[in-house]
Symmetry: C2
Subunit: 221 residues, 2 copies
DNA sequence: CCCGTTCTGTGACTTTCCTCACAGACAGCA
DNA sequence: TGCTGTCTGTGAGGAAAGTCACAGAACGGG
C-alpha cells in the first residue's frame, strides 16, 4: 500500500503519472505495494516468473548475465525513475527472466500488479510513451553492448567504462571485471598500463582518472 | 496507398488489426504505403533518422552491426508478421538507428506514418500487446546474444547456428562468419573439424547437417 | 572450352585473453 | 601488535581467435 509520502516520492520520479485523473491514479496506486530491499539482495534471477511491475524510487539495480564458469557481465543498471524494463518485458512477453537483478545499494521500489500496469499503459499516454522510450533505450544500449563485446578490445572497453564513472572511482578490480565480463587479473594488468601512461592513478579500492581525453581517445580507436 | 489485395495480405500477417473497427482501420491503413524492396538493398543504416513504421508482408530483413575493420555481426532477423522493432524503437525513443538493416530477399512492407502508428498503439489493445511482446522478445534475444558472444566459444555458437538452420544449409562460410561476428577462415576451420567428427558434410555453398544431437550437445557444453 | 570470379582449404604467425599460482600490501579487529 | 581476510601485482604458460598469404576447386558466362 502506498502511503502519502511514498506516493509523492513516486510522482516526483514518474511525473507522467500526474496526467492521470487523481481518482483513477489513486485507485491504481493503492494496489501497489512498496518494498525496501537491502543492498546485495538478489531481486530476480534466471528462469523465475515475474510477479509485478516495479517502479524504482531510490537505490539502483544491477542487471547481469553470468557464465557457467563464474564470470559475470553487466547488461545494464536501473536507477530511480527508470523502472525495470526487463520485468515489463517478462510481464508483456509472458516469459520468465533471463538475467539476474541485484540491488547495488539499499533500494526502494513500488510494485504494481500486472493488471494495474496494463491499465496504466492503456489509459495514460505519457506513461505509455515513457515505457516505450525505456524499451527503446535498453534495446539501443544492448545493441551497443553486443557490438562492444564482439568487436572491441577489453582495454578500450575498460577505458570507456572508466570515463563513464564518477571520479574518483571507488570499486575493486573484481567489480570492474564483472561489469565487463572479464576476470580480475586482466583488469588489473590493463589498469596498470593506463597508470603507466599517466592516465589514471591507482589506490586500494580507488581509481583516480587523471587524463579523461586520453582515455576517451583510446576507447574510440 | 494500400490496395485491396495488400490489405488482405497485411491483415493476414497482423490479425490483431482486425479488432479495430473497419472504418478506423481503413483510415489508418490508407495512409500507409507499400514498398517493394529488392534483395540486398540497405533499408536503413546507422545514424539515419527513421521515416515510418514498417510492417513486413513478405521477405526478410537482416539487422546487423558492423565493426570498423569490416567484420559484421547479425543482431536478429525480421520475418513477415514481425515488424521491425528497431524502427519502432527509433520512432518511440526519438533517436536515429544504431544498426544496419539489409533485405535478405525481395521484401515487401507496408510503412505506416508515425502518427498512424501512435494512434494504433493508443487505440488497439491487441496491437499494443503485440508490439510489447515483440520488444520483449528482441530484448530477450539480445540478452542471449550478449551472453553468447561474451561467454561461449565460437565453435559452440557455430554448432548452435547450424542446428538452428534448415537442412541442408545453402550459404557461404563468409555469410556464417558475418552472422557470428567472426571471419571466414575460422569458420572454415571449425566446419572442417565438425566434418571430421562426422557431424556435417561440406559442399560448395552447402552444409549438410548429419548429426544434430551431437552438434546440440556440443553447443550446450 | 577457356577465363575470371567466387568460394574454400591451409599453413605460419601474432595478439588477446584466460588460467593457475603465489606473494605482497593493506585494513580492521581482537 | 599480530592475525585474518580482502585486495592487488605479477609471472609463466596455454588456448582461442584473428591476420596474412596463397593455392586449388568449382562455377558461370562468353
Amino acid at each position: 500500500m502506498l502511503t502519502g509520502e511514498s506516493k509523492e516520492h513516486l510522482l516526483q520520479h514518474y511525473p507522467m503519472l500526474r496526467e492521470l485523473p487523481a481518482a483513477e491514479r489513486d485507485a491504481l496506486l493503492s494496489a501497489a505495494n512498496v518494498m525496501d530491499i537491502p543492498a546485495g539482495t538478489v531481486i530476480f534471477d534466471e528462469n523465475q516468473p515475474c510477479q509485478g511491475f516495479p517502479l524504482l524510487l531510490s537505490g539502483s539495480v544491477r542487471v547481469s548475465k553470468s557464465s557457467p564458469n563464474g564470470r559475470e557481465l553487466q547488461l545494464y543498471r536501473v536507477g530511480p525513475g527508470e523502472s525495470c524494463i526487463l520485468t515489463s518485458s517478462c510481464l508483456l512477453g509472458h516469459s520468465p527472466y533471463h538475467a539476474r537483478g541485484i540491488a547495488e545499494r539499499d533500494t526502494r521500489m513500488a510494485v504494481l500488479a500486472p493488471t494495474a500496469f496494463k491499465t496504466l499503459i492503456a489509459t495514460c499516454e505519457p506513461f505509455r510513451d515513457y515505457i516505450f522510450a525505456l524499451f527503446s533505450e535498453r534495446l539501443t544500449d544492448l545493441m551497443q553492448l553486443v557490438s562492444a563485446v564482439a568487436f572491441q578490445k577489453l582495454d578500450q572497453r575498460l577505458a570507456a567504462l572508466l570515463v563513464a564513472k564518477a571520479n574518483p572511482i571507488n570499486t575493486t578490480h573484481q567489480a570492474l571485471a564483472d561489469e565487463l565480463g572479464s576476470v580480475r587479473e586482466i583488469v588489473s594488468r590493463l589498469l596498470k598500463n593506463f597508470a603507466e601512461q599517466g592516465w589514471i592513478r591507482l589506490g586500494r579500492e580507488q581509481i583516480e582518472v587523471i587524463d579523461v581525453p586520453a582515455l576517451q581517445r583510446y576507447a574510440a580507436l
